[in-house]
Symmetry: C2
Subunit: 262 residues, 2 copies
DNA sequence: ATAACCGGTTTGGGATCCCAAAAAAAGAGC
DNA sequence: GCTCTTTTTTTGGGATCCCAAACCGGTTAT
């Protein structure tokens, strides 16, 4: 479906964020041609895209260098996205024609509630919850009246954990009963925040909508920081992706992409 | 200095935001090659960059289409940037090592004060004021501790009025004595906001720093909206650039670019 | 008359070639 | 033995070529 350069950019992007290139490693067009079995043209197009995304930078002299993001970068980016979402929540609460989209938010909240109540914390359930969570957040971004907020978020979504509505789950914790309880509590807390945001938007309480959305975003940041402290060695981005449960989606996406490219 | 594709992207970008292409106009690689006298390779690289910036989009079938931003888009983008700046102000107020950069802010404020006091509203003075204004805003973005904020702002700076610290001046108004008074008042108001932001950051009053910075950003939005209402026909982006006083800088930049490319 | 079909043309994607500049390696001078 | 210079190699930028898919126009069949 997509052209090779876009696909290629996705691959290289994946390699960079997963840490397959050393931080600051020099990257060569020829090598990329060789490893990905394509000509230089799509490689160069892909590199331009990645350069715009800030994942690589062009040296003044010659050559490209990897700008591999670390966990701190991701945390900063999550903070930015959260802040933008809080603006979106405020604007949507102020928007006169917000009422028509409110049912979408309500449906997402109720669906998450239902899934939590069922209590199955398997992959399928988590994916469904994440999907509804994404619906909730995307809806606010898209219906706030300022399209540029959504655009800006999409420009920074290439980093892991920055897909709108991404959530963090601790696989390790999910395997124990106590861990399940804790994750369940987090989900309930998150969705209750959704409810407050929903009601604030409904009532037109812009300040409250913004504030709770901000708090909602901070929840994820703090949770990631809990990971950071608990992990003995350095927490890598790979760990984050594994934790997030997005790896499943990502993997599926990759294989389909491969099938098409072959 | 820069490679042709970067330079070319700048040209096309300029053409698009200045409205030289009709909104939704189809754009062809071959035509760009012809008009800019370059081969297709740099054209395609430039188009990828512009695509990332959202100024053009690739049709699923074939061909590129321009996404010319209108004044409303610019207003939305200014709102986003302002919101990000307010986050930066808050974070900087919370940052423990903010004290070392405070003198930079103070110097910028004092320099602006001095220039206002002189009262000459000619091009040179306005440029100096804008420069110091940019210093103030850039410093906060760069020293807030979250580098991703500055990065995100830089990603959306390709639109006019989005250069950090850009200001709007009404040329028309500047020509009359009453208009000068009014512009002078705006500058004083703006710089007094700078002072409040500075003091809030100094004291570590994060909430106030964020709030005043937000108010500071809203000032420009409201001023542009004043333009919009006063102008009989549709306000174009070209008008905004002319008003902003950036056209001088932009023009200079363009000619140097031309000299190098010829 | 309309719609389906067919050939020519346009256009963008990918590969390849050439070249200049930069980096690396080899050689000369101290 | 070290450094500066020269030569070789690498590497990225730009141009050109080829091709397949999409667009356009005309023709034909229903």
């Amino acid at each position: 479906m997509e052209s090779i350069d876009t696909e290629l950019a996705a691959r290289i992007r994946n390699d960079i964020v997963l840490g397959n290139y050393g931080e600051e490693e020099r990257i060569s067009e020829a090598r990329l041609c060789d490893t990905h079995k394509v000509s230089r043209t799509p490689v160069r197009l892909a590199l331009r895209m990645l350069e715009q995304e800030g994942l690589i930078r062009r040296s003044e002299g010659r050559g490209y260098f990897v700008n591999a993001p670390n966990v701190n970068d991701v945390l900063q980016a999550v903070q930015v996205r959260g802040h933008l979402e809080s603006l979106a929540a405020r604007l949507m609460a102020q928007s006169p024609d917000r009422l028509s989209t409110l049912p979408i938010l309500e449906a997402a909240i109720e669906e998450i509630d239902r899934l939590i109540l069922v209590g199955k914390m398997d992959h399928a359930s988590i994916r469904l919850i994440q999907k509804q969570n994404a619906v909730f957040h995307k809806t606010i971004l898209e219906c706030c009246g300022n399209d540029f907020i959504g655009f800006t978020c999409s420009r920074i979504s290439h980093m892991p954990m920055l897909e709108v509505g991404a959530m963090v789950f601790d696989r390790q914790v999910l395997s124990t009963k106590e861990g399940k309880e804790r994750s369940n509590f987090r989900l309930k807390l998150g969705n209750s925040q959704h409810k407050v945001i929903f009601e604030a938007i409904q009532k037109g309480d812009a300040v409250r909508a913004e504030g709770v959305m901000r708090e909602h975003s901070n929840t994820m940041i703090e949770y990631i920081q809990v990971f950071e402290k608990r992990t003995k060695e350095e927490l890598t981005i790979k760990d984050l992706i594994d934790y997030s449960g997005l790896s499943v989606m990502r993997k599926e996406h990759d294989t389909t992409g491969k099938e098409k490219s072959l």
